[in-house]
Symmetry: C2
Subunit: 221 residues, 2 copies
C-alpha cells in the first residue's frame, strides 16, 4: 500500500513493494496517481506528489513537464482491460446465461473497484479541461467493452442461441443494467464495501431480463 520509501539506491532505482525494481519515474507516477485520485486535479499539489514519492519537486518536473502533463500520464497509464472478459471469437458458444453472468460479474468487479471509481471520477471531473483525455478514457474503456460484448452477442445471434437484432444497442443496455444504481452510488462514495448480495441480485436480474427479451421465441423488439 505504501510506496516503500526504503530507497536502497545506487543510482535512481529503488525496490518497490513487489520486490521488483521501480524506476524513479514509476515511483512518481504511482505517487501522482494516489494524490490525483484522492484529491482531484485542482486540489492536488505538486508538493504533495513530490513528498508522497519521496523525491524533490524538481525531479518531478524533470521527468514530466508540469502538472497537466503528469495528470495526462497517470490517466493513460493503466487502462483496466474491461474487454478481456468477453469470450474470444474462436471460443465455443456455451450456455448464454452462464456466459453473460460471468461477464456481468467480471464487469462489476472491475468497475466497482475503488481505483476504477476514483479514476472515473477524476477523468470526468476534468473532462472540461482535458477533453482529449476523456475521449481516450472512454474509447479504451466503456466503448471497447461495449464493442467486444456486441461482437459476442452478434455471434450468439448468428448461431441462433439468442435473437439480437441490434447488438450494439443491446450491449450498451446490458452493461447499463448491470451498472445499475451500484455504480452511481460508488461514484458518490455512498458505499464503501461492495455489497456481495446486491451484486448478486443485480446480476441475476440483469441477465434474466436480457435472456427473456432476447430469447428466440420472444416477440419483443
Amino acid at each position: 500500500m505504501g510506496i516503500s520509501r526504503a530507497a536502497t539506491r545506487a543510482t535512481a532505482t529503488i525496490h518497490d513493494a513487489d520486490g521488483g525494481m521501480a524506476s524513479k519515474r514509476d515511483v512518481i507516477l504511482e505517487a501522482a496517481t494516489q494524490v490525483f485520485l484522492a484529491r482531484g486535479y485542482g486540489s492536488a499539489s505538486m508538493d504533495a506528489i513530490a513528498k508522497q514519492a519521496g523525491v524533490s519537486k524538481q525531479t518531478v518536473y524533470a521527468h514530466f513537464g508540469g502538472k497537466a502533463a503528469l495528470f495526462g500520464a497517470i490517466v493513460q497509464a493503466r487502462s483496466d482491460s474491461i474487454a478481456d472478459m468477453i469470450p474470444r471469437p474462436g471460443a465455443p458458444v456455451g450456455d448464454p446465461g452462464e456466459a453473460l453472468e460471468a461477464i456481468a460479474r467480471r464487469f462489476l468487479t472491475i468497475v466497482l473497484s475503488p481505483e476504477a471509481v476514483a479514476r472515473f471520477r477524476v477523468v470526468m471531473a476534468e473532462s472540461g479541461r482535458f477533453p482529449e483525455l476523456a475521449r481516450v478514457f472512454y474509447d479504451s474503456g466503456p466503448k471497447r467493452a461495449t464493442l467486444a460484448l456486441a461482437e459476442f452477442l452478434g455471434r450468439l445471434d448468428e448461431s441462433g442461441v439468442l435473437r439480437v437484432p441490434d447488438s450494439q444497442l443491446a450491449a450498451g443496455q446490458f452493461f447499463a443494467m448491470v451498472r445499475g444504481d451500484l455504480f452511481l452510488r460508488n461514484l458518490l462514495g455512498l458505499r464503501q464495501p461492495t455489497d456481495a448480495a446486491d451484486v448478486d441480485a443485480v446480476v441475476r436480474h440483469a441477465v434474466g431480463n436480457f435472456i427473456a427479451v432476447h430469447r428466440p421465441s420472444s416477440a419483443a423488439e
Copy 2:
C-alpha cells in the same frame, strides 16, 4: 432560469437578468454555482466568484462563511425535481407503455441537461471531501426518483397491468437502461448537443424491453 428568490428588499438588491429582483445573496449564489460547476471545487477561486457576482470578496465572506460553506449552499440550492414526472398516486392508470415512455423522456431531458451533468460531476468529484453533500444529493435526486417510480410500478402491479414483483429493483433497472450510455458520455463531455435520434432509440428500446419482461404473460423473473 435564475435562482431569483424574488427578494424585494430595500437595501442590498439589484436587478437580475430576468428583470426581477435578486438579493445580493442570490446573486452570489448564482455566480458561485457557475464558477464551481465550470471549474470544480479545487480550481474555483473566491476571487473569481466575487468578480462573477460583481461584488467584493468580503461581501462573499460576509454572507457565507468560507469556500466550503458556499460550496455546500450551491449544491443544495436547487435540487432538480426528478420525481415530479411520475404520475401521482391518485391518477388513473392508462397505457403503461405510454406512461413509461413519457417518464423516460422527462428523465433524460433533466438528467442530460448541461447543468444537471455539471452538478453531478462536481458533487461526485468532491464526494470524498463532502460526503454528507453526496448523500443529500443522492437522496433528493436519484433515490427519490427511483422510489417514486417504484411506487408507480407497484400500482401497475396491483392493477394487473404489469407484473412487477420487486418494484424497487425494477425501477432502478429501468432508469439504468434509460440512462444507458448517454449519461456516461455526457459526464465525460463527449456529447455537446443531446442527440434526439439516440434518445428516441434508447427510450423505445428501454420501454419495449421493460414491458416485454414485465408483461403478465411473460415467464421471466
